[in-house]
Subunit: 345 residues, 2 copies
């Protein structure tokens, strides 16, 4: 009972075959005589044999693992504050499902400190066949260093990475344009305020740019943007600054929009009658808040799935021109923009 953990050799001996045969029973079952296969299976069962993944990976040069590296900005103490995490959960789920279909498992690792991202990425990469770098976890140095294996950057900063590594992002510009156009054309708003995200977020930058461009194109004045940090808290703060209340407030994410709506209601301002509020991201919460939040949905699971697809593609064919995938967003019209309430949330 205290025996060493059994290896292929033990299984082989017990089944009266060679190690090669055991190996084949594990991977190419159909290349074996049914009787032999059965004997091997039995030996495996009896010994409680577990293959050693490291040894398999060493010779086969593949781990059947895809890694995901991201920044964890949540507060370990409180369940709340995990705003950005919802996004990550969605991507993880999308990756997991796509990977599963292709026979891969997902290895996840996070860091709090962006400076530690490189080390983590290296450590993950050394155990995977490919790696996904999420958002800020993708400094150029890391990408450079990992270039020996397939790398996909998701929602990365736009700067120099462009054009030399596979990327997946969301079409922030199209989504924002669609959203703002709705406010202008359907609801006839002309006074729009903007509550933006942190300067170092590429998403925030793209959304703001599109917001501005759309207003300009419509011949409307572009307001000075308020700059928040993507939390409900700054959304609420914004309510105090917005005075006089404009016709509509466009928020760079849902969290801030919800914080804003709540604070507005506390101040006695009616949404959407007196002011329309819209968000961006399409988090689940937006459906349940009253008024239900009009927003632009980010396809989080498809993002994860696309990353896996890109990885797997490059695993098959190494030299391929880098892909820069832009996934479409979806405008979700609910009540907070002033549209009539649909039948059900």
């Amino acid at each position: 009972m205290t025996d060493k953990t059994p290896t292929v050799h033990d299984v082989a001996r017990r089944a009266g075959v060679s190690t090669a045969t055991v190996s084949r029973a594990l991977s190419d079952a159909d290349k074996l005589h049914p009787d032999t296969l059965e004997r091997v299976r039995q030996a495996i069962e009896e010994l409680g044999y577990l293959p050693n993944g490291a040894a398999r990976g060493l010779t086969s040069r593949k781990t059947r693992v895809l890694a995901l590296c991201f920044l964890d900005q949540g507060d370990p103490e409180s369940d709340a504050g995990d705003d950005a995490m919802l996004y990550i959960d969605g991507v993880v789920r999308g990756m997991e499902r796509a990977a599963r279909e292709r026979g891969y498992a997902i290895l996840i690792g996070a860091v709090q400190d962006p400076d530690a991202a490189l080390d983590l990425a290296v450590s993950l990469a050394s155990r995977a066949d490919g790696i996904v770098l999420l958002g800020q976890a993708a400094p150029s140095s890391a990408i450079q260093r990992l270039k020996r294996l397939p790398v996909v950057v998701v929602a990365g900063r736009c700067e120099d990475d462009q054009g030399w590594v596979d990327q997946v992002r969301v079409d922030n510009a199209a989504g924002m344009t669609e959203l703002v156009t709705h406010l202008i054309e359907v609801h006839g708003h002309t006074r729009l305020a903007y509550l933006g995200g942190p300067a170092d977020s590429p998403d925030a930058a793209e959304r703001w740019a599109a917001f501005r461009a759309t207003l300009t194109a419509a011949g409307l004045p572009v307001p000075l943007p308020l700059v928040g940090d993507f939390t409900q808290h700054t959304g609420a703060q914004a309510a105090e600054v917005l005075d006089p209340v404009p016709g509509a407030v466009v928020c760079a994410n849902d969290q801030m929009a919800i914080g804003l709506m709540t604070a507005l209601r506390d101040r006695g301002v009616r949404v959407p009658e007196e002011v329309a509020v819209v968000g961006f991201d399409g988090i689940d919460l937006g459906r349940h808040v009253r008024p239900a939040l009009t927003t632009v949905r980010q396809p989080m699971q498809p993002i994860g799935a696309a990353a896996v697809t890109l990885l797997e593609r490059r695993l098959r064919v190494r030299d391929l021109p880098p892909e820069d995938l832009r996934l479409p967003t979806q405008l979700i019209i609910r009540a907070s923009c002033g549209c009539p309430i649909p039948r059900l949330a």
Copy 2:
């Protein structure tokens, strides 16, 4: 440029040292002369060397990876329907954070078919130092088969596993008792209805048992339970069956409670004035729904963290009596039970 990926040997040659020294530079940096270390670092940098995790794992007999195996019951097509997934996300996050502190990464894998759970678990286990089996993903056969490495079962079925494998679960009984007692003693309810979960869920079973026991102890009649499937949908269905409307409805999870409240409101029944509704789980949504849901919070992240702790403990000391951890729940009183609305959600 099309050269083979570099190994310790290449690094060693380039740095003018032996492979052993390179290895030490990677793990026991402080055992090296600073100058040597620097030369090795440089060689690594220049060659773009990435250590091979498989090879490392092979000799060191540890992967620094902890696996998580669970059932994915969500619908890949719709973002919704991922009810149970919220729970899993919480556990994953808890695991990831706890693992990170100890230098582990998390390998996750899911299956849809419970029968495939064993194969998946084996495949994950072969690449990890320990494995967590979540809920239904833990048939006894799997646990038996994996026994060569540390296994922790989280929220498993209660049956025979008990007492021979490390487990983490939530104290459903205490939570339910506290909740029902609140309804009885604070709000004076005497007519309580119960909307339960599927028969094959150990959590559901424990909650129902505690509900019944508490009523009995209080000398109140025990109603026939309605049996739902943990979705908002069955919660809504329950609204039609509940007639005449009782004083309070206790639901086995939040999703059903929310579905029920919505349907009740549609029927013109006021919550909590005419009927109190309470849930179980403490999902985020419950905070934002109106009236805010009174519920029992499951500490999902602590569950994940506890699983990692147990795993790591057993990694250090193999023969230890099995632990059966019961994590405490927390009663969260909000508005749906009839309590005055607190200051903010």
